[in-house]
């Protein structure tokens, strides 16, 4: 296919490297260096999409990230990317590009019928109409989503890798236009570490489309020279194809680097994108400015473009986006475009200038070239359907000046600084009346330079960039005392703009005039919003959807500020702009996720016995980040079968449990006992070395925070066990009290959780197994009684053995260094074989402890449970203070109707009551039903041959009271009776044997 709009000469494209991609399946010829947009324009494709709401035909408006229309879908299948801008996407061989918002095809879009009924779907239409009747909303939503069609999600997992990098530098320069290049050069001159980013494929920005010379070089050549200089400079990182999309507190900047630029879209590339997380000491903001559109009827027709974008296509891509142009402006910039077009051989039929006496250098030059200039004139209407065909001019008072044929209508309403990053981080902005736009104020480590600072002249921009780069480096602590000389440029002075928001008089009534092309928000929509009282800019946004969508209103918002100000008769400074939020441009979810996916999404913590458990066929459950053996099914066994077998083995023979995940804290120092007295509810100072005690830790609110056994290792050393999930919180809690409240206590806390693995041997034969495995610890009942600990060797490894029990059986918890734990585990399993040793997992552990009525913090308790509530009042010392004690005498903690721990037996012994199920006195289906409590733990107990449950019930219950438990899914009520929560061996005889 030919490129009818490609110019014969010029541009920065590589004419020796022709490439081809497809747009909606149609081959498009291009050159390396083209963007998708420039290649489409060169080929004469003006229709690139349909609008969001009315499905009006839309074309390319800009040459950068501000475009409201040029969103396309790239690639296909698993690697497809929606919402990419054709204007910043490099054309690459084989790339598949599709439109995003038309159905069934771009040319014949049935939804464009919406355009015919536009008067009936004004702003707020969805809110007012489609919310009723409510139950139809899913139907409406389905239709609307189809109609809206904002691109398609990939249909398979993304094969690309996405990289995340942390980076640091003295000076981050955002934007590599004239200000950014000058700033980076000045900063690099001091030896500072500099990162320079630009969203375009090559640095240069506006210089790449400039007519001016810098330091006696053509603008683009100077940009190339400085780029080469920076590339060679040590400490400078140059990142093209990279968008700084978010600026956060502490001046953290997120960058998205596109890595697919040189890859055919369906070849297996290494990476899709890289997100840089930069923490610079100082930032030079050189993000330029966005040209403002102007209002007139049908101002959305394909062929209506920003004047500056036309210059960019001519200079940079050697593309004339039309064959006959009209320009409409309120400032001097459009005259430069007129001259560019004339130079390129494209006739400019007229320039309509709002100003009555445009007499600056550029207007004079345009007149001298014979371009017809109409002062005090405006475009009132664009004719044409899928492409503009003529511009109808009139004078400011409405006098017709005739329709002028054209297929390109360039507009320039002035320039609005691209202050998005600055404003995202709540940087201060102020209304600049000479620009008629908001501009950023410097400060807080941010140095705006160039167009973003309101400077539109090239020579001054280069000076400002140089100063900003030097100042930023100095503020970052880098300075060599000399500032490089600013580059010189020969641009012409520019006359001031004349703000033009609302067309005068009746012209403002012409329809439709689009303020926001992406969201199809018209001037009438703004009027309606204000008429209905939504006057704040944030309310206007929410009422009309102004500035929403993937373009985030980059062109719409600066225009809307002025229009709303004029409609309200207020100062634009007081109208403001909607809040700027990240991301500046769409960033793919894959890029945001980076490496944090799959196995790297979160640490998976395993014990030294993990491989053994796997080999033994264990099923695993996640306990926080830990992966713990849940149960060990033998061939053909269900979970129920396996757990029953494991439970009975522990009750009748011996079981072995990997309990390495328990938190373990060594508490050392002369005041360790005093410290424990303060944090535990019971007394510790008199615990003799070698003995263990169960402790309960409360928050200051009196609620149970953690529980566990603590052993006194020697005179000044204790070892505290915490629950698995509370290991880190308990240590932090203890440290907080020690460091902030009791610094006088001579106590050190050291986590030893990972050094010591914990193997629990439980069951009546456990003593024999331990003996068989080989130990020098005397095991006789009197030599090593319940609730004591001994140090000695087990299977040749120095171990700490605790005679404590979470199962109610004779039990030893054997702590050995983790690097030898697998050896000891295997030795115990070998030694236990003659005794029928059975590995058991967390499920069996839970059943066994529930049979004994032992609570689990976080299961029976939920942060609102006191020791008395779970029957542990005996652990509350009366003789000393402890954390939370005072709260136990507050009226609320002494209420008689507090929920208390009870046992529950369902009438049907085969029925396992649902955990979480509501407990009530009388079943019924009227809501709300008075609820007595809830089931906290519920299992089938193989030992008792029936189901058991623990519950927290208001006021507690005596023996044999009638309750009903609600099923969670099928509205049934299960009858049950209360009982003692210790179901098995209530005297505790078995653990003492």
């Amino acid at each position: 296919m030919s490129q009818p709009f490609r110019l014969d000469r010029g541009g920065r494209i590589d004419r020796d490297t022709p490439i081809q991609f497809t747009f909606d399946g149609r081959p498009i010829d291009a050159y390396r260096g083209d963007t998708v947009a420039s290649a489409l324009l060169a080929s004469g494709v003006t229709l690139v999409g349909r609008s969001f709401k009315y499905h009006r035909p839309r074309g390319i408006v800009s040459a950068g990230a501000e475009d409201p229309n040029a969103f396309v879908q790239l690639g296909h299948g698993a690697r497809t990317l929606p919402n990419r801008l054709a204007t910043v996407t490099a054309a690459t061989p084989g790339l598949k590009v599709r439109h995003v918002n038309a159905w069934p095809t771009l040319e014949y879009d049935v939804m464009s019928a919406f355009g015919l009924v536009a008067p009936f779907i004004p702003a707020g239409f969805y809110y007012k109409t489609l919310m009723w009747p409510r139950r139809f909303w899913p139907l409406y939503e389905h239709f609307l989503r189809h109609a809206a069609g904002l691109g398609h999600a990939p249909d398979a997992p993304d094969p690309d890798r996405y990289d995340h990098v942390h980076a640091h530098c003295d000076v981050l320069v955002v934007g590599a236009g004239p200000a950014g290049l000058a700033a980076a050069r000045a900063a690099a001159h001091t030896g500072a570490r500099v990162i320079l980013v630009d969203e375009q494929a090559e640095p240069g920005g506006s210089l790449l489309a400039s007519r001016e010379r810098v330091d006696d070089l053509p603008g683009p050549d100077w940009a190339d020279a400085v780029t080469a200089e920076l590339t060679a400079a040590p400490g400078v990182t140059l990142l093209p194809n990279t968008t700084a999309f978010g600026l956060y507190e502490s001046n953290l900047v997120l960058l998205a680097e596109r890595l697919l630029a040189d890859q055919p879209d369906d070849a297996g590339s290494e990476s899709g994108a890289r997100v840089w997380r930069v923490l610079p000491k100082q930032i030079v903001l050189a993000t330029g400015a966005h040209e403002r559109p102007l209002l007139f009827a049908n101002n959305d027709r394909p062929g209506v473009m920003l004047a500056g974008a036309i210059s960019t296509y001519v200079h940079r891509y050697a593309v004339a986006p039309g064959s006959r142009a009209v320009l409409f402006t309120n400032n001097d910039a459009a005259y430069r475009t007129a001259l560019d077009l004339t130079d390129a051989g494209v006739p400019v039929a007229a320039i309509a200038d709002v100003r009555t006496d445009p007499d600056g250098d550029l207007p004079s030059e345009a007149r001298a070239q014979g371009i017809p200039v109409h002062p005090g004139a405006v475009v009132r209407h664009a004719h044409g359907g899928r492409r503009v065909a003529a511009a109808e001019l009139c004078s400011l008072d409405g006098a017709p000046l005739g329709a002028i044929e054209c297929d390109l209508l360039g507009v320039s309403g002035g320039f609005a600084p691209a202050l998005h990053l600055h404003a995202q981080a709540s940087g201060p902005t102020e209304w600049d009346p000479t620009l008629a736009a908001f501009a950023p104020r410097p400060g807080n480590g941010i140095h705006p330079a160039g167009a973003v600072a309101g400077e539109l002249e090239l020579a001054a921009t280069l000076r400002q960039g140089t100063q900003a780069g030097s100042a930023a480096a100095a503020a970052a602590g880098r300075s060599n005392g000399s500032e490089p000389e600013a580059p010189r440029a020969n641009d012409s002075a520019q006359a001031p703009i004349q703000p033009y928001w609302l067309p005068p008089g009746n012209l403002a009534r012409a329809k439709p005039q689009f303020v926001d092309l992406h969201e199809d928000v018209t001037l009438d929509d703004l009027r309606l919003s204000l008429r209905e009282g939504f006057e704040s800019i944030e309310h206007v946004k929410r009422y009309t959807t102004l500035g929403m969508g993937p373009d985030q209103g980059k062109l719409a918002n600066p225009l809307a500020t002025g229009v709303i100000a004029e409609l309200l008769g207020r100062d634009p400074a007081s109208v403001g702009t909607p809040r700027h939020r990240p991301a500046y441009s769409p960033v793919s979810l894959g890029a945001i996720a980076g490496r944090h996916i799959g196995p790297l999404a979160d640490p998976v913590r395993v014990t030294p016995m993990q491989e053994w458990h796997e080999a033994a066929g264990a099923r695993f459950e996640n306990v926080g980040q830990w992966r713990r053996a849940w149960y060990y099914p033998q061939p053909g066994e269900s979970m129920h079968d396996a757990v029953a077998r494991e439970c009975l083995a522990v009750r009748h023979r011996v079981g072995i449990l990997d309990y390495s995940t328990l938190g373990k804290i060594e508490i050392t120092g002369p005041d360790a006992g005093e410290f424990l007295d303060r944090v535990y509810t019971n007394a510790w100072k008199r615990l003799r070395p070698g003995r263990c005690r169960y402790g309960l830790m409360l928050g200051e609110d009196g609620m149970i925070f953690d529980d566990g056994v603590t052993a006194r290792l020697d005179d000044q050393r204790y070892l505290m066990f915490t629950s698995t999930s509370n290991a880190a919180p308990v240590l932090a809690w203890l440290e907080q009290w020690l460091q902030t409240e009791w610094p006088d206590l001579r106590v050190y806390l050291t986590s030893v959780s990972e050094h010591w693995s914990n193997i629990a041997l439980a069951g009546p034969r456990s003593r024999e197994v331990l003996a068989a495995a080989g130990t020098d610890i005397p095991l006789a009942r009197r030599a090593f009684p319940f609730m004591t600990f001994r140090e000695g060797h087990v299977a040749g490894v120095l171990a700490r053995v605790f005679r404590i029990s979470f199962s109610g059986e004779l039990s030893y918890e054997i702590n050995v260094p983790a690097d030898r734990a697998r050896h000891v585990w295997e030795a115990l399993v070998d030694a236990g074989r003659p005794f029928g040793i059975t590995p058991y997992g967390t499920e069996t552990m839970h059943v066994l402890r529930a049979e004994k009525g032992f609570i689990i913090v976080g299961q029976e308790t939920d942060g609102s449970v006191t020791p008395d509530d779970v029957g542990l009042g005996r652990l509350l010392s009366r003789r000393k203070d402890f954390l939370g004690k005072r709260s136990l005498s507050r009226p609320d903690t002494r209420r008689l109707d507090r929920k208390k721990l009870i046992g529950l037996l369902s009438d049907d012994p085969a029925q396992v009551l649902p955990e979480g199920g509501a407990v009530v006195d009388i079943p019924g289906f009227e809501r709300p039903l008075p609820m007595r409590g809830h089931v906290t733990s519920s299992y089938c107990s193989p030992t008792l041959g029936r189901s058991i449950a623990l519950a927290m019930v208001s006021g507690g219950a005596g023996h044999g009271e009638r309750f009903y438990v609600a099923t969670l899914d099928d509205d049934r009520w299960l009858p049950a009776r209360s009982c003692n929560p210790v179901f098995y061996d209530p005297e505790g005889a078995r653990q003492h044997v």
Binding site: E249, Q736, P743, R886
Partner: protein, 88 residues
């Protein structure tokens, strides 16, 4: 992202830290001597100040020290940081 100046380790990103609430709320020496109201005041009532706020932070992923930060709750600007009792 907040850069928090640990008095020992220097500025680090906020995900290395744990927030410990308002500072300067000493535990009453004799809780039993307090009325329920006084105890509730210690336990639950916080100033929730707009502006300068002294608060406790712990460098959890670093040196494990608790320290005090003075932060402006409106701007999030950190105005200073100090150790407990200036201990070393």
């Amino acid at each position: 992202m907040l850069l928090i100046p640990c008095p020992w380790c220097g500025p680090r990103e906020d995900d290395e830290f744990t927030f410990g609430g308002e500072a300067d709320i000493p535990r009453p020496a004799d809780p039993d001597a307090l009325t329920d109201e006084q105890w509730a005041d210690y336990l639950f009532m916080r100033d929730n100040r707009r502006g300068r706020h002294r608060e406790q932070w712990c460098h959890t992923a670093g040196c494990r020290r608790w320290f005090i930060v003075e932060r402006d709750t409106v701007t999030n600007e950190i105005l200073g940081a100090g150790t407990y009792g200036g201990s070393t």
